[in-house]
């Protein structure tokens, strides 16, 4: 879409876009180009010699079991965050949508977790499950006889990171599902009810299919969130531990680049992550184009 009426100025439009473009070039394009360049450089341990090695860093990465482990952890983590987050928020949204009275009040009680910083969310959940003073860890031990210690047990640490990440994203999913539910024409549901379909049947044959575009959109957003938005949760909760059991890919980039000083390897990992984010963004935008015609 284009405007028919425009202004004729030679320099003004450049001045207007300039700040945005300068920041984009200096802080986005230039570092990204450097990152790709760096991913093909090999620096020896003392930082003295730098050699151009083409794709050797990538080759190393694809032979490194630690990288595959991190990738597998990321896959499990983002899958769990997306599925659990979508299922819980869909349940809440459907239930809130059923009760016309109070739906707005419930909304107010469900949206605010969005405003809590992921790193603070990590701190909150770490406190609840703290092995020595956490109330939930205490209850699990004394009421159910289950020992929960995320500081020592890698599997439990991953579960806890998933819980915290889901908590942080649930209000976002809830709002989109609720908006999706409220845009379904009441007449469709009434017609089904007159034909004798009960609430369960109406949900699976009418509401669920009509919600699928929203669900698919949220799936992509949640995967992007689990990949990139959860750094704060992981850093404040487990720092990737214990024994790298919660080291998702983003955290590994940070760890290898800043703590390990393996610049080439970290840059190669970044390049792969960038490819993933480009792919996901393209999927997201293709989908939104379709949503318009739905």
């Amino acid at each position: 879409m284009e405007k028919r009426v425009t202004f004729d100025e030679k320099t003004l439009p450049y001045l207007l876009v300039l700040p945005q473009i300068v920041i984009t070039l200096v802080f986005f394009f230039w570092p990204s180009a450097q990152m790709i360049w760096q991913s093909m450089l090999l620096e020896d341990a003392f930082g003295g010699n730098t050699r151009f090695v083409w794709f050797e860093n990538f080759a190393h990465l694809f032979q490194d079991p630690a990288y595959y482990r991190s990738a597998a952890i990321t896959a499990v983590f983002s899958g769990a965050v997306a599925v659990l987050g979508l299922a819980l928020s869909l349940l809440l949204a459907v239930m809130a949508d059923r009760v016309i009275k109070g739906a707005t009040a419930y909304k107010a009680f469900l949206v605010w977790p969005y405003a809590v910083a992921p790193a603070v969310v990590g701190v909150l959940w770490g406190f609840l499950f703290n092995p020595s003073v956490g109330i939930v860890a205490w209850a699990l031990r004394n009421l159910f006889g289950y020992e929960f210690n995320y500081v020592l047990n890698g599997g439990q640490a991953l579960v806890l990171v998933v819980f915290a990440a889901v908590w942080s994203q649930i209000s976002y999913n809830f709002l989109f599902f609720l908006a999706g539910l409220q845009s379904i024409p009441r007449s469709l549901i009434e017609a089904a009810a007159i034909d004798g379909a009960g609430p369960g049947r109406r949900f699976w044959t009418i509401i669920f299919p009509l919600l699928s575009p929203t669900g698919f959109f949220l799936l992509v957003v949640n995967v992007i969130y689990a990949f990139f938005g959860t750094f704060g949760v992981v850093d404040a909760l487990t720092k990737g531990g214990p024994a790298k059991a919660t080291e998702i890919l983003v955290f590994k980039v940070y760890n290898d680049g800043f703590r390990g000083q393996d610049l080439g390897g970290s840059a190669a990992q970044s390049a792969i992550l960038m490819a993933i984010v480009i792919l996901l963004t393209v999927v997201q935008f293709r989908f939104i184009e379709r949503k318009v015609h739905y």
Binding site: F7, V17, P19, V99, A115, F228, A236, F258, V277
Partner: protein, 282 residues
């Protein structure tokens, strides 16, 4: 309601209320922890109801800080967070609205190039270019400065698109009429477009304030001096400091204070918040 099923309705209420309670529980425990003294919070099981030390704890963390990690008052970190959040918020809105104005209301060479350059930033989140971006910021001497905390984060594809979308929906007659009346483009922008964009600006303000306040990775990279730490950073540092006897009462008071401003913004500007959230995803 399509039909009357009192049991199902009651069940729905029950599920949602249960959800609300479970979601609120971590924050309730945080609040409770911030109202007891340190020794109570080291004895498991910790209390489930608030204690009498609320004012004392908050006073201590605000004006003296958490002695075990750094001991700088949290007021400084809160102020840093506020400066960063407002800087990012205002900066993003300013440079996005002008860029969108240029792209929509002018025809100039490289117009589409500018548009795509801004679009591509969506695909380059800071998480994937951590090390080189740090290098650029360090090279510019922006480590430990407000400009380093703010400026690299204010480019915004979503805000630019949102304004572009809105400007495209503004009737052409308005621009035509102001041109007939002899108003230049900046006059049209300031007197007509800006006032019309109020609701869009408000929605973006809420979303970007939360975004700016909650930044974690970026301040972690570009600050290494306590006087520039943000509140979120301080909370995470305090909670993860290795310590046999942590003062959970103070750590949790800091956590409460670090989440209060964005939560208040969401609660009191809920309409703008929901609008901003839904619109920026278009």
């Amino acid at each position: 309601m399509v039909e009357n099923r009192p049991w199902l309705t009651a069940f729905s209420h029950l599920v949602v209320i249960l959800g609300v309670l479970i979601i609120a529980f971590p924050v309730w425990m945080t609040f409770v922890a911030s109202t007891h003294d340190a020794s109570t919070m080291l004895r498991s099981p910790v209390p489930l109801l608030p204690g009498p030390y609320l004012i004392q704890n908050y006073k201590e963390i605000l004006f003296q800080g958490y002695a075990r990690t750094s001991g700088i008052p949290l007021t400084i970190a809160l102020m840093n967070s506020m400066i960063m959040a407002l800087g990012i918020c205002i900066g993003k809105i300013l440079i996005s609205i002008t860029a969108a104005f240029a792209i929509v209301y002018f025809r100039f060479p490289f117009r589409m190039a500018a548009f795509w350059a801004i679009f591509v930033t969506l695909m380059l989140p800071v998480e994937v270019r951590i090390v080189p971006t740090y290098g650029v910021v360090a090279g510019l001497g922006m480590i430990n400065s407000y400009s380093g905390l703010i400026i690299p984060l204010i480019a915004s594809a979503t805000a630019t698109f949102l304004f572009r979308q809105f400007f495209l929906s503004v009737p052409d007659e308005l621009a035509e009429a102001s041109r007939v009346d002899g108003a230049g483009p900046m006059r049209f922008f300031v007197d007509i477009l800006l006032p019309m964009s109020r609701t869009t600006i408000a929605a973006l303000f809420v979303i970007q304030f939360i975004y700016g306040w909650n930044q974690y990775l970026w301040p972690l990279l570009v600050t290494n001096h306590e006087s520039f730490y943000t509140a979120v950073m301080v909370v995470a540092r305090q909670a993860t400091a290795v310590d046999a006897t942590p003062s959970w009462n103070l750590i949790m008071a800091a956590a409460m204070l670090a989440m209060l401003p964005p939560v208040l913004v969401v609660v009191f500007m809920q309409r703008q918040f929901v609008r901003g959230l839904v619109e920026t995803e278009k």
